[in-house]
């Protein structure tokens, strides 16, 4: 097994000094080709943790390292910068409304990787084809694309940075079942073909179960359970996990009373 690319050790994140921390003692380790799910309800801290994993938020305590270097030391132009990319929940908000699909991806190629103009367009077309975007859609702006097509463009743009790992925060929750299937299949294929590591943040346990090998369950900022996805979901050891899975009314009452 390859060495982990992304490692978080006992990370605590506070938005304000006097407020309760959004994340407490969060640890995770992800290598290329690995898939880890983070599940929890709103307010569990999973999205905050995700943002810290891609270096958008600096932890108050603990460290997050990319290829051994803490995020706080990584500069914009450093090679570590591109190795972890994020895919957001709302692809419409994540895309520049004035850029066509091709330009969105080409821009990432030239800014992050220094690929010159005409070549960037060509590579963008290849990337968009590899994520299954219809060739007729590459010249369209986000408004003219369907939700599933937009998320493909966002994924292609992340791939333009040639990452080892993508952190995807609810990438399919704004999509219909059939568009969701396309995006999940795409992520699974990218993992198999390119060895892409995936951190999938989701409230949807079925989605996480389908695509990940390992899972962390978060509640009120803390990881309350972790382990192989199949084991955690078929025999949860924490009552809150059981509640999420809708297993056991007794456990549900217990977790609620905590």
């Amino acid at each position: 097994m390859s060495a982990p690319v992304l490692v978080a050790e006992q990370v605590t994140i506070r938005y304000r000094g006097d407020a309760p921390p959004a994340v407490v003692d969060g640890s995770i380790s992800v290598a290329a080709g690995e898939t880890v799910g983070i599940v929890g309800e709103s307010g569990s801290g999973k999205s905050t943790f995700a943002k810290a994993l891609v270096g958008l938020i600096e932890p108050s305590e603990g460290a997050i390292r990319v290829a051994g270097r803490p995020w706080r030391e990584v500069r914009r132009r450093d090679p570590e910068r591109r190795r972890v990319q994020m895919i957001f929940q709302d692809p419409y908000a994540a895309l520049n409304p004035r850029l066509t699909a091709r330009r969105s991806v080409a821009e990432a190629l030239s800014v992050v990787r220094g690929v010159p103009g005409a070549e960037a367009d060509e590579q963008a077309d290849e990337l968009l084809a590899s994520v299954g975007l219809d060739a007729r859609a590459v010249d369209l702006r986000p408004r003219a694309l369907s939700g599933g097509q937009r998320q493909r463009v966002v994924i292609a743009r992340a791939l333009a940075c040639d990452p080892d790992i993508v952190v995807a925060d609810e990438p399919t929750s704004s999509l219909d079942v059939s568009a969701q299937a396309q995006v999940l299949n795409l992520l699974a294929r990218l993992r198999a073909e390119r060895g892409l590591g995936i951190v999938l943040i989701s409230h949807d346990l079925a989605v996480v179960r389908h695509i990940t090998d390992e899972v962390l369950v978060m509640r009120s900022g803390r990881i309350v359970e972790s382990g192989p996805t199949e084991a955690v979901m078929s025999a949860p050891s924490h009552p809150y996990t059981a509640t999420l899975l809708g297993r056991d009314a007794g456990a549900a009452a217990e977790a609620a009373a905590e």
């Binding site: 309800e41 219909d176 079942v177 999940l184 299949n185 179960r209 389908h210």
Partner: protein, 322 residues
């Protein structure tokens, strides 16, 4: 007419500003039953449920074909005035969970009292409001009564919305994705609440959702919609375990809650049908792997026994199953 279903739609068509968004809906729901209407965005499920509570006028829409029957009475052509006297009493709507459903500057109690008075219960409106808050299992009805909407959680607000919707003791409650924005554990509680209220009062419940796991949890029967038509109807267990229509099968195979793990999810080729130019014949046919020549002709719902029906020419050739 005591045997008439609480709600029946017969080849119901609905147009919004001249565009036919719903072309053929055939459903029926009796007292004490729960019918789920399932479909993806653009299938017409929301417009259909708005027509059940007479809210088409506000969307610039109307029933443009077929019939809508409430307790056996044809209400297809009823105007806003007729609906206004019926809404909240005979029929009521639980909207999607959102902060916008309640007036943010008025305390919950005042909003409830206003609703109860409008329904003709001027006396003891406060007591009735507290009773309703208790019925939707809010722990401290007095406190909720005095609260402003933003002081309540999303789940509590949705309970208040449900309390308001049942204030007039409707015979038909229509819930439009009422749990979509809520967390899983809260969602499950709200589903259980709706189911219990429905069983206790014997009202009919129509539940609109895109989520098949929710269908399984709450409904007795399900109607699957595609491109403005009900394409399969039947008891939940039958439809979800042994679907007849290729679109129902495709949906189930694309859904990670029902699809086999570790294998790619099935993808429906092509794009959802566009109401500006519905496909001729069977509307699913351009995307259907089983399509043959006969599918160029319209495919109405056909009965398959056991109160099941599907709108597909080739059910016999394909066989049932997943």
């Amino acid at each position: 007419m005591t045997d008439a279903p609480v709600l029946a739609a017969e080849r119901l068509a609905v147009s919004i500003r001249g565009m036919e968004l719903v072309s053929r809906v055939d459903v029926e729901v009796g007292a004490g039953q729960c019918l789920a209407i399932a479909g993806e965005s653009g299938s017409g499920k929301t417009v259909t449920c708005r027509s059940f509570v007479g809210l088409l006028g506000r969307l610039g829409g109307e029933v443009s074909g077929g019939r809508l029957l409430l307790g056996g009475e044809d209400v297809s052509r009823d105007d806003e005035r007729a609906w206004r006297s019926r809404r909240g009493r005979a029929v009521a709507l639980v909207p999607q969970a959102s902060l916008a459903s309640l007036n943010p500057v008025v305390r919950v109690g005042s909003q409830m009292v206003e609703t109860i008075r409008a329904l003709g219960g001027a006396r003891a409106a406060r007591g009735r409001a507290l009773e309703l808050l208790e019925q939707v299992r809010l722990d401290d009805p007095e406190r909720v009564f005095r609260s402003y909407p933003h002081q309540l959680s999303g789940g509590m607000r949705q309970r208040v919305m449900i309390a308001l919707s049942i204030a007039g003791r409707p015979r038909l409650l229509v819930a439009d994705e009422p749990t979509t924005a809520l967390d899983v554990t809260v969602q499950r509680q709200i589903l259980a609440l709706l189911r219990d209220l429905q069983r206790a009062s014997g009202m009919a419940l129509v539940f609109v959702t895109h989520d098949l796991s929710v269908v399984r949890e709450i409904a007795d029967r399900v109607a699957v919609m595609y491109a403005g038509e009900t394409i399969e109807t039947g008891p939940v267990a039958d439809v979800l375990q042994r679907p007849l229509h290729p679109y129902t099968r495709a949906l189930l195979a694309a859904d990670p809650t029902t699809a086999p793990r570790g294998r790619p999810l099935s993808e429906v080729p092509g794009k959802p049908a566009d109401p500006r130019s519905w496909p001729a014949g069977c509307r699913f046919q351009p995307r259907c792997e089983h399509a043959r020549e006969e599918c160029a002709a319209p495919a109405p719902l056909r009965s398959f026994g056991g109160s099941r029906a599907a709108a597909c020419h080739r059910v016999e050739q394909i066989g049932e199953g997943r």
